[in-house]
């Protein structure tokens, strides 16, 4: 079954997602919708022959025949958009931190898109770490503490991310608690301005009463392969080790596909890959 999808928000995320959707065989693309005719995203979309509009949400009011819209605006606008999409009967995959619908990590709960009309894609750090943290939670008895530290390149962090850095931390912590049942967790974000730009990298620290290291090693590769089905450049960069005080440490690196954004922007790429994967669930 094919579905029809649109994008609202023509910034970096929206434009990169557009390029990805156009490659998808199961999605018919309806419209790329923003508010400024001079945005780079609109220009890029026009050059690719895509149907664009600068009427914002009004475009979808006038043209409601889409199954799903990816909201790539900002938390405030996404909240306003949602009241309108809801009335139009259009499903929304929310890439902002608005936290309207349930949080979604594709390999864990992509089916939520079937039963919910609004699904939230958490954050880049959440999409990078939770697939593995969820596995680790299965390999542990009495998970006590999780900490994740992400490095992203300065150039990949837009002004919204920068000004709302607290929002990123709180949302990612909520998601980790939600998908691991670990009550105490801490999220740290580092912006690194080095040139050439650094890749996104996330290190995870886990403490538990007991960790079945053998079981983890056995299943880790399979879990990574599952993630790689929708995030091709997702790799283990630090092999799991247990340090002297029993803390499990491992790290992943996420390179982007270089669709619209450069490949160092793995943080933006991974959330788009995840969103697309969730939408494709409706076509299966």
């Amino acid at each position: 079954m094919k579905i029809t999808a649109g994008i609202i928000g023509t910034g970096n995320i929206g434009t990169d997602l557009l390029v990805k959707i156009l490659k998808s065989k199961s999605i018919d693309f309806a419209a790329f919708v923003g508010r400024r005719s001079d945005s780079d995203g609109i220009r890029k979309a026009n050059s690719m022959g895509v149907n664009t509009s600068i009427n914002g949400i009004d475009y979808f009011v006038a043209n409601p025949k889409v199954d799903i819209v990816f909201d790539c605006t900002d938390a405030f606008t996404a909240q306003r958009n949602w009241t309108i999409f809801q009335n139009l009967g259009i499903k929304v995959i929310d890439l902002t931190p608005a936290k309207i619908g349930p949080m979604c990590i594709p390999i864990i709960n992509r089916d939520v898109i079937i039963t919910n009309n609004n699904v939230n894609m958490v954050t880049c750090g959440g999409q990078a770490s939770i697939p593995l943290l969820n596995l680790i939670s299965i390999c542990c008895i009495d998970l006590k503490y999780i900490e994740i530290v992400s490095q992203i390149s300065s150039k990949s962090a837009g002004i919204a991310t920068r000004v709302n850095i607290d929002h990123y931390i709180h949302t990612t912590e909520d998601a980790i608690r939600n998908f691991t049942n670990c009550k105490t967790c801490k999220v740290i974000l580092n912006l690194n301005p080095a040139e050439p730009c650094v890749d996104m990298q996330t290190t995870m620290f886990v403490q538990a009463e007991e960790i079945d290291f053998g079981k983890l090693q056995e299943s880790l590769n399979d879990r990574i392969k599952l993630v790689r089905q929708y995030v091709p450049n997702y790799e283990l960069v630090m092999m799991p080790v247990i340090n002297e005080d029993g803390t499990l440490i491992l790290g992943v690196r996420v390179k982007g596909a270089g669709d619209y954004l450069p490949s160092y922007a793995g943080n933006l790429d991974i959330i788009n890959c995840a969103a697309l994967n969730v939408a494709e669930r409706l076509t299966a």
């Binding site: 503490y145 900490e147 530290v149 490095q151 300065s154 002004i159 920068r162 000004v163 709302n164 850095i165 607290d166 931390i169 709180h170 801490k186 740290i188 974000l189 580092n190 912006l191 690194n192 301005p193 080095a194 650094v198 990298q201 290190t203 620290f205 403490q207 960069v237 630090m238 092999m239 080790v241 803390t247 440490i249 790290g251």
Partner: protein
């Protein structure tokens, strides 16, 4: 006679010397001394500030808030300050509770190129009627032009003082002259300097900063701070006096306490060890000293090789996780030659 405000971060930066394990009794005793000695501001907390107690950087045996509550209870005149780095600490989890405890001065910090992550935090602190500093860390990694434009952003957000941190201990006095002059020319708020002693220049750099117009100097007792330590409190006071600058601090009490602290807070005073010289030259965060030593031992590497590679990767403060990752990956490339690191001494960008 210009009066220089001394801010003493011994109970914050000093935490790097003891893996973030400063005990509450030491906090109480040192705060009592600071108050009696008329030190204007003391900064208290984890080495990387509010919300930084973590497996990444080091866990404290007690919370930030316990530490601040003890400090608050022992201060009358001296203002209580904290460092907060967005990305580690947040308004809701850390800043608001610190305001509730009675912290007076919030020094909101970012890496030298990332000032815009501090906007909300600086604005919040100002709206609550507290004092906000804008702080740029690791400043030797950017040139003067970038430093000034990032500092100006902090001034626009509402910072009442701008503090430049030489977190890597890399600057020469000529670099300080250049930067303080440019900051004075372009900012209308007060300027402060926070030095590290990796190249033995913390005192000289602090003096030059004052001579070119800085009004605030960070100084720690016995230099108690990350890596080779900070500008030494008991030295900078008389040196500034010699050059005609007043600090209004009771020097006699400071000298007595500089002996006393060896029995409770400091125990091992920082020195400029060979590893600190290398991290200073390769522009790595001073607080990386202990994690570098640990990772080198764990993976059987020479710390110099690890330092050269970390310098290549241009790590910022708070990236202790990558020290482990880089060490693990260096171990897998045993035949690589890192000796070229010896011939390559990077300088601060002018």
């Amino acid at each position: 006679m210009r009066t220089i405000t001394i801010c003493d971060p011994s109970l914050r930066d000093g935490n790097h010397c003891v893996k973030h394990k400063i005990d509450l009794d030491s906090v109480a005793r040192y705060c009592k001394f600071a108050d009696e000695a008329r030190i204007p501001i003391i900064e208290v907390g984890h080495g990387n500030g509010l919300g930084a107690s973590s497996l990444l950087i080091g866990q404290m045996p007690h919370s930030d808030f316990q530490m601040l509550t003890v400090a608050r209870g022992n201060l009358k005149r001296t203002k209580l300050g904290v460092l907060v780095i967005p990305g580690l600490g947040t308004i809701k989890k850390d800043i608001q509770p610190a305001i509730d405890i009675g912290v007076d001065v919030f020094r909101v910090a970012s890496h030298v190129t990332e000032a815009d992550i501090t906007q909300k935090h600086i604005e919040y602190v100002r709206n609550k009627g507290k004092t906000a500093y804008g702080v740029l860390m690791m400043s030797a990694l950017a040139n003067t032009k970038i430093l000034v434009s990032e500092a100006k952003k902090m001034e626009e957000y509402g910072a009442e003082t701008f503090l430049i941190m030489d977190s890597t201990g890399t600057y020469m006095p000529r670099d300080i002259e250049d930067r303080i002059k440019a900051l004075k020319d372009n900012l209308s708020i007060r300027i402060g300097f926070h030095g590290h002693n990796n190249l033995g220049l913390a005192i000289a750099n602090s003096l030059v900063a004052v001579q070119y117009g800085a009004d605030i100097i960070d100084a720690c007792i016995r230099g108690f701070g990350a890596g080779a330590g900070n500008t030494q409190l008991e030295i900078i006071i008389p040196v500034l006096e010699q050059y005609g600058f007043n600090t209004d601090i009771d020097f006699q009490r400071v000298i007595v306490e500089a002996d006393n602290v060896m029995n409770y807070l400091v125990k091992n005073a920082p020195i400029t060890a060979p590893i600190n010289i290398l991290t200073g030259l390769h522009k790595l965060f001073s607080g990386f000293e202990k994690p570098i030593v640990k990772a080198s031992k764990l993976y059987g590497l020479q710390y110099s090789s690890l330092i050269f590679e970390l310098g290549n990767r241009k790590l910022v403060a708070g990236q202790e996780d990558l020290i482990l990752e880089v060490a693990q990956n260096l171990k897998r490339r045993p035949h690589e030659d890192f000796t070229n690191g010896w011939g390559r001494i990077p300088c601060p960008q002018s």
